[in-house]
């Protein structure tokens, strides 16, 4: 698989389209774009430490490695296929190299820590490129069929065909986000704070391990701190603290 570590330039191309000194024709726009990939920068081993905490709920098997390695391998990342309709795909990869999806014990288990990267690949077809190619394809179809206009359904089918054709000339954008699960404390750190990506990792984790990733929030953190019946009742009936004054509100 070919990829170029030139994310800044790639992002510029994706954002602005081709260089301004070339006309935005279908031919000029059809040059393959570099992979939007900045290297394994999110997380556990290198890069900024920005993360959300989760608590792993459920019965963790004694022989975690033996019981789950097969399932991890079954849920590793699979490359996107330009012929398929899927626009994005995610799965597990190695934290040390998100291009490495051949997981084994050594790549996943670091003493009491289970480490995986969730790799997400997405087709990013620049809009000017799609528009230019779609316009050309529409003109060809009209001429071929001797029509004056194209129906809604035919246009949607044409768009899909153009998208597939363009995807064959592009490489998907890739990102990978590390997940570190301390199997002793049941705390998992996931190096992203996007709610959308949280949903993806929660679903993938549950599918792989049969265990739930419960997001940390004041509510779940309070619950884990330990409630007896009296405290739970107090917690359920808690009212916000209000410091506002009449003068302040004015």
């Amino acid at each position: 698989m070919r990829w170029i570590d030139a994310s800044v330039n790639a992002a510029r191309i994706a954002r602005r389209g081709p260089a301004r000194d070339k006309p935005a024709t279908a031919e000029n726009l059809a040059r393959p774009a570099p992979r939007l990939y900045a290297g394994p920068t999110l997380g556990a081993i290198r890069g900024p430490l920005t993360y959300s905490r989760f608590f792993v709920a459920g019965e963790v098997p004694d022989d975690l490695a033996g019981a789950t390695l097969k399932k991890m391998r079954a849920n590793t990342f699979r490359d996107l296929d330009p012929q398929e309709d899927e626009n994005s795909r995610h799965g597990w990869a190695s934290v040390q190299d998100p291009m490495d999806v051949d997981l084994d014990h050594e790549k996943v288990f670091f003493n009491e820590y289970l480490c995986l990267a969730m790799r997400i690949d997405t087709w990013v077809v620049p809009k000017p490129l799609l528009t230019a190619h779609l316009r050309t394809a529409e003109a060809q179809l009209l001429e071929k069929k001797g029509l004056e206009r194209i129906g809604k359904k035919a246009r949607a089918e044409l768009k899909l065909a153009v998208l597939r054709k363009l995807r064959r000339q592009l490489v998907p954008s890739t990102k990978s986000i590390d997940l570190v699960w301390n199997t002793r404390t049941h705390v998992a750190r996931f190096f992203s704070q996007s709610q959308r990506i949280h949903l993806l990792v929660q679903e993938l984790f549950e599918k792989t391990f049969g265990l739930r990733l419960v997001p940390e929030s004041p509510g779940t953190a309070a619950e884990r701190w330990g409630f007896d019946e009296r405290l739970e009742k107090l917690w359920d009936n808690l009212e916000p603290t209000i410091l506002a004054t009449v003068e302040g509100a004015q």
Partner: protein, 193 residues
């Protein structure tokens, strides 16, 4: 699933109150905090703080935003800290990070790591990073425990909220009176910093 969502969403405002309490403690004890179940540390707010009430926000950026009159004014307007940049020293270790009240998530954490990604064994780099994060989280966890004990006690509304109101009014809190309340609720482990 609904039950889980409810557990996650319930009382999210308490995360902002936790930030408020950290701010109050830091100012009252001149940054020296002594969590009942953890090691003593110095903690203070620096460079950036966002206070919110519904969609109304005050973003304060300065060397010490918590000390600015605007921060206290925001409290009097009913806003609470939604996120803040904190710095903490624990022994020789110094940490800085952004704490988000609504999710208790950590952002841009600076840790006193000695090993580097390039040149050092990748496993050792990883273990050091995790050990330092866990050190930071353990102290926060101890502070969270103290806060919750106080928050769920009768002393919160009876004694601490009036002190917080004085604090919002830019009047110095009576550290001894507050310490007495803490001792009564948390036990004898509470000491003045």
């Amino acid at each position: 699933m609904t039950d889980l969502v409810e557990r996650i969403e319930r009382n999210r405002f308490v995360g902002r109150e936790f930030l408020l309490w950290l701010w109050f403690e830091s100012e009252t004890f001149e940054t020296n905090l002594r969590p009942a179940g953890g090691s003593p540390c110095a903690l203070w707010f620096e460079t950036r703080m966002t206070l919110s009430f519904e969609k109304d926000e005050s973003v304060l950026k300065s060397a010490s935003p918590a000390a600015s009159p605007e921060a206290k004014e925001a409290l009097r307007q009913g806003k609470l800290p939604r996120e803040a940049k904190l710095r903490m020293t624990n022994g020789e270790h110094e940490f800085a990070w952004i704490l988000r009240g609504d999710t208790l998530a950590f952002a841009s954490v600076a840790i006193p790591a000695e090993l580097k990604d390039k040149g050092d064994d990748v496993h050792e780099v990883f273990y050091e990073r995790m050990r330092l994060l866990e050190e930071l989280e353990a102290i926060l966890q101890a502070l969270w425990g103290d806060f919750l004990t106080l928050r769920l006690s009768e002393a919160w509304n009876a004694s601490i909220v009036p002190m917080l109101k004085r604090f919002a009014d830019e009047k110095r809190a009576d550290a001894d009176a507050y310490l007495q309340v803490k001792k009564r609720i948390l036990g004898k482990k509470s000491k003045k910093g």
